[in-house]
């Protein structure tokens, strides 16, 4: 080994060591929101925060099925009682009155602080008389049942007012034997709020395990061995997705590695060379992880999964080196021969992936950094380390044997030019005809959640009567009380808008916990006990009520006047706390109050009326807009990338003709791949774009190598062989990925497998060099 070889080895090993040290200290996250955009507007920040760790992200929808209703009801009670009080579970609700009793107590005991109907006018002689006459009517009506027991303590019917407001249009799920059931009675339903935020996947996982264990215990204790547990919700999906991605990436990479290794072994017939061929990719992966860890602080699990597949290209480098090494020539002489071409190929990939660095998706930016670092390191390892490690007399015979066949095939390829032109025109026509429909405009297209799981989630949400929120009013303030006060300011205009039929109704955190100022005002509206007693007696004159019937009312008011004001701790232990926590959240230094709107028919009117005080957020529309913005950005980046690649090729090849010959097959491959994918029913997402970038990166290598003038026929045969083997490896790797159940992996896998194969074929069909010097025989 040469002195220089030793140096290369030493530097390489030292580099690996540094990377390993960095990686050991790296934290890996599986927070899917890294693949959500960094948000530009306040409204969108609220959206992303909610998806990350809002109460919405902490909900687990649980269904028990597969047993008779009686058994399921019992199972629901037992499971819930196992879970109540568990530190991992913030709240669990299955329709049992366990929590409702506390809710009722909170509302009943604090009715004079909570009810918006408490005003000074309500407790005058006239106000009381109106209320009593109303009570009398209620007693005579079937509605009397609602009031009779509460009446002596609450003649002004504050509790009725509160219940009406709380119930709204929400009807809740149906019950059987006191627990929630689906309408058809086949599933018992539970709603769990996890203590851990939605993005803390390890804690989510532990919580889900806890729920499963509780179910198993309950099932074992009861007599319902046939019962099954179903869970959905953001946390469930995140954990599942992480597991599926991990399993898919692991399975795909093992399968792909085995198949690629098998192929390479067939070609090289040497385990040592086989191991060496994977060395650049392995080194690149380590360096990529280390670079992302340095650049971003953490490495996303998905970056790792995708990144490794993107580095599949680096296996090609070793293949070029090995296959092109002629018998009798030292391997370290091979590379200088193809170095320029290889370098140019790598640079095109680097430029392609470089555009991802500018993406607002931190996940994509990570991917960009990862692949660029990986590619460059893999190239260096191929250039300076691999030749040193190869046996001195290394050469491959096999490709020499299969090369003539391939060469013959490829020389015949130009005959396909006319059909290719036709297909190209057809594809362009198809894409043009499809227009914008080619692109998925839905954020959910990024969702790694399988269709069937999304459907189950929708079904359970319907069963639970918890439809997705459509519109949200958002107000911010410096502290909690400020946010509550700001929410209270919206009540008047909102009531007006409800009367104008702009919406059906709304929910507000101030309903569960009014601001301190409002509570004080309500307390001040309650009269002195002596005055109230006199006024009540006057109001009762001429009415058929027993004179002493309302003693409890006088006591309640006297108590409420001096009661301590409510704060967040007062509502603790009730299910209303859940509601409050979901509507009143702290984001950084500010507090945000959210008012979900029901049945919005005129968003325009609402946002015009309230534009001064609040932001109206159309959740579905906003998230899709957000997504389209990012898709637009990705598209622009991809186009800029293509321009940069073309410029790079022009500089590298210094010939318009050569550039044309390299670029045209790539363009054809990209266009026809897009047409094929959409014709197969896929809507293209950002991740397909990433796939297309990869096609350009890999495909440019093929056309560059084909375009390169070869000094001899033997060398050209070897070029053809090496490109074909490299292509096979890529198609195998990504083809396997396309079997993934994760839509994103499936999309990238299909795009690259199809695109890479087409690139090779089109390079052969359109290659100038092969046409000009056809090989006969």
């Amino acid at each position: 080994m040469t002195w220089r070889g030793w140096w290369s080895l030493a530097i390489w090993l030292a580099g690996l060591l540094v990377c390993a040290l960095l990686i050991v200290r790296t934290s890996f996250t599986a927070d899917l929101s890294a693949f959500l955009p960094r948000s530009p507007s306040t409204a969108q920040q609220v959206l992303v925060d909610q998806l990350r760790d809002g109460v919405v992200s902490r909900l687990v929808l649980v269904a028990l099925e597969g047993a008779p209703a009686d058994a399921l009801a019992l199972l629901s009670r037992d499971t819930a009682s196992w879970l109540r009080g568990d530190p991992l579970i913030a709240a669990i609700n299955n329709g049992e009155s366990t929590g409702i009793e506390r809710d009722r107590a909170y509302l009943w005991n604090n009715r004079y602080l909570l009810s918006s109907a408490v005003t000074p006018a309500r407790f005058t002689v006239q106000g009381l008389r109106d209320a009593l006459q109303n009570d009398l009517r209620l007693l005579q009506s079937p509605g009397g049942l609602f009031l009779k027991r509460a009446l002596p303590s609450d003649p002004t019917a504050e509790i009725l007012h509160l219940t009406d407001q709380l119930t709204g249009e929400g009807t809740g799920p149906v019950s059987r034997d006191g627990v929630w059931f689906s309408a058809d009675g086949t599933r018992a339903l539970l709603l769990v709020q996890t203590a851990a935020p939605g993005f803390d996947l390890d804690a989510q996982q532990r919580t889900l395990d806890r729920i499963r264990a509780a179910f198993d215990d309950a099932r074992a204790a009861g007599n319902a061995s046939s019962a099954r547990l179903l869970m959905t919700g953001p946390g469930v999906f995140s954990v599942q997705t992480r597991d599926t991605i991990e399993a898919d990436v692991k399975r795909s990479s093992v399968l792909a590695t085995l198949m690629v290794a098998g192929l390479l072994f067939m070609v090289y017939r040497s385990p040592r060379v086989l191991a060496l061929s994977l060395l650049p990719a392995a080194s690149g992966t380590l360096a990529g992880i280390a670079a992302v860890s340095l650049g971003f602080g953490t490495v996303h699990g998905i970056t790792l999964g995708f990144g490794v597949t993107l580095l599949g290209e680096t296996v090609d480098y070793a293949i070029y080196l090995f296959t092109q090494t002629l018998p009798g020539t030292p391997p370290d002489r091979t590379l200088p021969r193809i170095w320029r071409t290889l370098l140019l190929g790598v640079m095109t990939s680097v430029v392609g992936f470089g555009t991802m660095l500018f993406s607002s998706f931190s996940g994509l930016a990570q991917l960009g950094l990862f692949s660029i670092t990986g590619l460059l390191v893999a190239l260096c390892v191929t250039r300076w380390v691999l030749p040193t490690l190869l046996p001195a007399d290394f050469a491959t015979e096999r490709p020499a044997r299969m090369a003539p066949v391939l060469t013959a095939l490829i020389s015949a390829a130009p005959a396909l030019r006319t059909p290719l032109l036709a297909v190209m025109l057809l594809s362009l026509g198809w894409l043009f005809y499809q227009g914008d429909a080619v692109w998925s405009g839905d954020l959910s297209s990024l969702s790694p959640v399988a269709q069937s799981d999304q459907q189950l989630d929708e079904r359970l949400r319907r069963d639970l009567g918890a439809p997705d929120v459509g519109h949200l009013l958002v107000v911010n303030a410096e502290d909690r009380d400020g946010a509550l006060a700001a929410a209270e300011k919206l009540t008047g205009p909102l009531e007006e808008l409800v009367r104008q039929n702009a919406l059906d109704g709304y929910d507000t955190p101030a309903l569960y916990l009014p601001s301190q100022a409002t509570q004080r005002a309500r307390q001040a509206a309650l009269p002195d006990p002596g005055i109230l007693r006199g006024d009540l007696a006057q109001a009762l004159e001429g009415l058929p009520f027993r004179p002493d019937a309302f003693e409890p009312f006088l006591n309640s008011v006297a108590k409420a006047r001096s009661a301590p004001l409510l704060d967040p701790s007062s509502i603790g232990g009730t299910s209303l706390k859940l509601k409050l926590d979901s509507l009143l959240v702290r984001s950084g230094e500010t507090w945000t109050a959210m008012l979900p709107l029901r049945g919005v028919t005129n968003p325009q009117a609402i946002s015009e009326r309230l534009s001064q005080d609040a932001v109206l957020l159309d959740l579905k529309g906003e998230s899709n807009l957000l997504y389209r913005t990012y898709r637009q950005e990705a598209l622009i980046l991809a186009l800029l990338g293509s321009v940069a690649i073309t410029v790079l090729l022009a500089v590298g090849l210094r010939s318009v003709r050569s550039v044309t010959v390299v670029v045209i097959p790539l363009t054809a491959a990209v266009v026809i791949t897009m047409a094929l994918l959409t014709a197969l029913g896929q809507q293209l997402s950002i991740f397909h774009l990433v796939g297309l970038l990869l096609v350009v990166g890999v495909g440019s290598n093929y056309s560059l190598l084909f375009e390169r003038p070869e000094p001899s026929e033997v060398l050209r045969e070897r070029t053809v062989a090496s490109v074909t083997i490299a292509n096979l490896c890529t198609v195998i790797g990504f083809g396997i990925l396309s079997f993934s159940s994760i839509p994103v992996l499936h999309g990238i896998g299909m795009t690259v497998a199809i695109g890479a194969f087409l690139s090779l074929v089109f390079s052969a069909v359109l290659g100038r060099h092969l046409l000009e010097e056809p090989v006969h025989g």
Binding site: N134, Q140, P142, K148, R149, T163, G178, F545, R546
Partner: protein
């Protein structure tokens, strides 16, 4: 929500009103008279209308309250009580949904199954009207006394929450017709409803 005393008595009255509409059933007098026979008779009702007069003795008030109106039933799950005097109000149960339209125009709606007290009342009607004795027995301890010519059906709530408000419901009638429903509430209040067959 709050309590359900009056609903119980009213819905029970409604049940009775509907039972009255069945009219005389031939051929039963000679057989052994029992719950099964009574229920089998009720199960044949498809739709019915009746008038009612109800008298409530409430401890809150100095004097009894009297209301009157109409009752109707459509098999299998719609029951409606229209109070006409002293003010117009409609209580309607359809499936799992209970809707109350009050004189002042407000409408309230709730899920029957979410409230065990109310469910007990509603199910007592439905179970009776459909002649489903087994279901009736899930909510009440059922006892029949007397003979075909003069019988008393006693329903004592099984559920603790229900029995906190309603102590006993007594339905009385002769042969296939019911004349009166008495609801005795746990707090001492008592209501009595008299039912007249035929629409108002």
């Amino acid at each position: 929500m709050i309590s359900g005393n009056n609903l119980g008595q009213r819905l029970a009255s409604l049940a009775i009103a509907i039972l009255l509409c069945v009219g005389p059933t031939p051929g039963l007098a000679a057989e052994a008279w029992g719950l099964e026979q009574l229920m089998a008779m009720f199960a044949q009702v498809q739709a019915a209308n009746a008038r009612f007069v109800e008298r409530n003795n409430l401890s809150l008030l100095n004097e009894p309250v009297e209301t009157s109106g109409t009752l109707s039933y459509v098999r299998p799950h719609i029951v409606e009580k229209q109070t006409l005097q002293p003010q117009r109000e409609i209580l309607r149960v359809e499936g799992d949904r209970l809707t109350l339209n009050q004189a002042d125009g407000t409408t309230r709606s709730l899920s029957v199954s979410a409230m065990p007290e109310i469910e007990a009342y509603v199910e007592s009607i439905r179970a009776t009207l459909s002649g489903d004795l087994a279901r009736l027995k899930r909510f009440y301890n059922v006892a029949l006394e007397g003979a075909a010519e003069g019988w008393r059906l006693q329903l004592a709530p099984l559920n603790q929450n229900v029995s906190e408000t309603v102590r006993l419901i007594i339905i009385s009638g002769s042969n296939g017709s019911i004349g009166q429903v008495d609801v005795y509430q746990t707090d001492g209040d008592h209501s009595s409803m008299t039912i007249f067959p035929g629409s108002a």
